[in-house]
Amino acid sequence: MSFAALSAVIVTLAVLGFSLILTFNVAQMSNSVTGQLEFSAFLNVNASEQQGEQVAQEIRALPGIASVQIISKNEGLQQMKQELGQELSDVLNAFKQNPLPIQIVVKPQDPHQIDRLAKEVSEIPGVAAVRDPHKLAAAIFRTLAVVRDIGIVFVVGLVVTSMFLISNTIRMTIFHRRREIEIMKLVGATNWFIRWPFIIEGMIIGLIGSAIPVVLLVYGYRSLYVKAKGVFSGLAFPLVQAGQIEVKLAVILIAMGLLIGMWGGVITVRRFLRV
């Protein structure tokens, strides 16, 4: 079994696996964003509680608003501490003053009006910034989609390369065993009896080649997930849970490995075995 064929399968499936992880997460993120029916307005950091109350009143007065909720500086700090967890929350203690602005969460009656309302709210005096998750997400989606597409293009090229190298390996085995094959044909072994060992050889290369990327990617994603605390750093987009992605990833990669190996075997047997 050649090292080249095996490494080609490993690289192919590693890139495929990486693209899959991205795809799964983009899909989940997209779901989570379209499910979000609210947006947040932030006041200046030194705005007072009264100013917050006043801005909230003005927002309530706009047409099409379902609810408005004020998150005070203290509440905001508590929330962030929870999200960051024990170790990282110490960082926040380093601030003498609460660094967070007052946040006002706005929920429109009609989700389709979210962009129009976000714009109107941003024009209210005292509002420093409006965070519209849709706009933010769109930029991330574009980047991730490009990365994923590049990955897929690579995968296609790599699949072809892998099959070529697997085919080459099997061809060597066929050459090595040509006398046995000749005799098998002469004494009336069926075509499939002669073919299957070579197709199995391809599948074994594919199987071994898939095991390594599966282990690497599952382990890698797990540690990433733990480090990132399950969210896309700071953006509050949840990552697909490690446990959910692992099985899917392993099944797809192993199946692809077997398929590449099997197909490599089939084309070789067709071209070089002539049975």
């Binding site: 006398r179 046995e180 005799i183 044909k185 002469l186 009336g188 075509n191």
Partner: protein
Amino acid sequence: MIEMQDVWKEYPNGTQALNGISVHIQKGEFVYIVGPSGAGKSTFIKLMYREERPTRGHIFINGFNIEKLKDRKIPLLRRTIGVVFQDFKLLPKLTAAENVAFALEVIGAPPKYIRKRVREVLEQVGLEEKMSMYPHQLSGGEQQRVAVARSLANNPAVLIADEPTGNLDPETSWDVMRLFQRINDLGTTIVMATHNREIVNTMRKRVIAIENGVIVRDEEKGYYGYDD
């Protein structure tokens, strides 16, 4: 048994190997195929076990219509034919017994039957004492007898031999010929391409001479008829 009707064979490179061959060989016959090198003897032989396909004409072997035989059914035809070659085609890493067993294993015979049958055919060719030896430990004549044993393992109706004595000295050649005679006496049809004039002229059988892809002579108890 073996029937060819106006069989032509042209190879893809343009070589005209056979130009209208008609022949009928009955069950239990012993036939020599003679003729100069390149006359079409090997093609004639290869058509019988469907290694090659005729360009034109009809061939019937052991009840198989070669024209209509699908590729995946070729193994069924070959299980009714034993083939022996000049270079024996034994597997060097297998013993005599394993070489014979190999032919039965690859067609999926049960192990118990294989053990019994291997012993039988090796006894038939007089090599039961040497069944655990490897080809390189055997003489040329013994290796050819292993090859014959392998070809017999499957109880073929027809035994095809392509220059079976071509690599053997005269004395060993006679041993192998006597073996073929015994096999023929048991009812197996034998078709043998040969260049061995002494054998053809001594062990007299039907002789089919092929030249330039056509049969120029077909005689019972014929002679070799060439000077080479």
